[in-house]
Structures are given as structure tokens and as C-alpha cells.
Symmetry: C3
Subunit: 86 residues, 3 copies
């Protein structure tokens, strides 16, 4: 019926005006943070996905979700790989 | 016109009630899973972004998207870094 | 009132027809790319979250967000762990 058509059109107009249709496209974004010593931390809002260490060391742990800690006895640098959604 | 205004108000009220406005904010969330031996697996629904190994070892591979496998001849522990969207 | 009810029903019907309710479920998806030598690169649209290296080496850096570079003097293979949202 006619009211139905008017309502339908009006509702779609309003939704369109609110820009509800497109959901924002999020992306994964990462940075590397290198530091001297055995600790390196991510910027606020980012989380560690992996760590690299000097002297060829592959033994590390993550403290508080944001800090890489390289464990080998001799370590000259630590890099945190830090990611978040943008 | 008056009907137009009534419809506009009503539509926005209904949308607000449905909480359609805010699209959910997704975040990247990660945990570390440490295990003795040369294998360590992520919880269901999470995926490996990197691995750490005992004895300073940096040679690893990922089996089935969810399990870290440290490759050096002597390995006492393996940690999987596991992430997903929340 | 009666008009109110008609509008309410109509608005929900229209929204349902537009399939606005479910926002698309994004997931984190990752692949490993192994290469001989000291460099390994992600496919287009993916970003490195961590690297693994031959000879037990845990010292690496990331060049241009998409390439793993293993730093130890002797390296026979390099693996890039590459992720993106699907």
C-alpha cells in the first residue's frame, strides 16, 4: 500500500543518512621497537606478537603483555614486535 | 511536513533501541603458552604469531597454525605466542 | 498508539531486510613463509608478526614491514610469520 512505500523509502533514507551501511575496515598494523639491553616495550595500545634478541638468542618471554625480555646471559639489544588494530 | 518529522524521530528511536549505532570495537588480544619440551599449543580460537624456545634457540616452525615446534637438538621449554581478536 | 506499533514493526522489518544486525566477523589469519637464505617476505596485504631463523638464530629484524632478515653470520633458512585480518 502507499503508506508502506512511504515508510520504506523514509526508513532507508534515514539509515543512509546515518551511514550505518559501511562497517569500518580495520587493519592489522605493527611496529618494531628496538632497545639496548634485555628489555623493550611497546607503545601504549599495542601488544607484543614476538621478540628478537641480540647474540642470536631465541629465548624470551613477555612481561605484562607489552614488554619483551631476552633471557640469554649476554644480551646487547632487544626488539619487541608490537601490533594493534587500526 | 509533520508526518516526515514523526517518522524521522521514530526511526531514530528504534535504531537507538537496537543499539545499532556503535559498531563493536575489536581488539587484538594475545597470551603466552609455555610448555616443557619442544611443543606448545594455543587455546582453541587463537593462532600463533611467534614462538620462543629454551637454550637460546631461535629455530622454530608452526604446525597446524596453533602449535610451536622448537627445532634445536636440545630444548627444555617452548612458548607459543597466541593471538585473536576479541 | 496504533501508528506507533505499525511504524515500529515496519522499521524492524526494513532493518532485518537490510541485514544490518550482524556486523561481519573478522578473524586474525596467519601463514608462515619459509625461504632459503637470510630473507623471507610476506604475501601482499600481510604483515610480519615474528621471524624464525636457521642455525638456532634468534636475532632478526623486519625490513619494510613485510620481510624478515635473519642476522647471524651463518643462516640457511628464514621463515616470516605473516598475519592479516580476514
Amino acid at each position: 500500500c502507499s503508506l508502506d512505500f512511504i515508510l520504506d523509502t523514509k526508513i532507508k533514507e534515514t539509515l543512509s543518512g546515518l551511514e550505518l551501511h559501511p562497517s569500518p575496515t580495520r587493519r592489522l598494523s605493527c611496529v618494531s621497537v628496538k632497545n639496548s639491553g634485555r628489555l623493550s616495550s611497546c607503545p601504549a595500545g599495542m601488544i607484543v606478537t614476538g621478540c628478537a634478541c641480540g647474540y642470536g638468542c631465541g629465548s624470551w618471554d613477555i612481561q605484562g603483555e607489552t614488554t619483551c625480555h631476552c633471557q640469554c646471559s649476554t644480551i646487547d639489544w632487544t626488539t619487541a614486535r608490537c601490533c594493534h588494530l587500526t
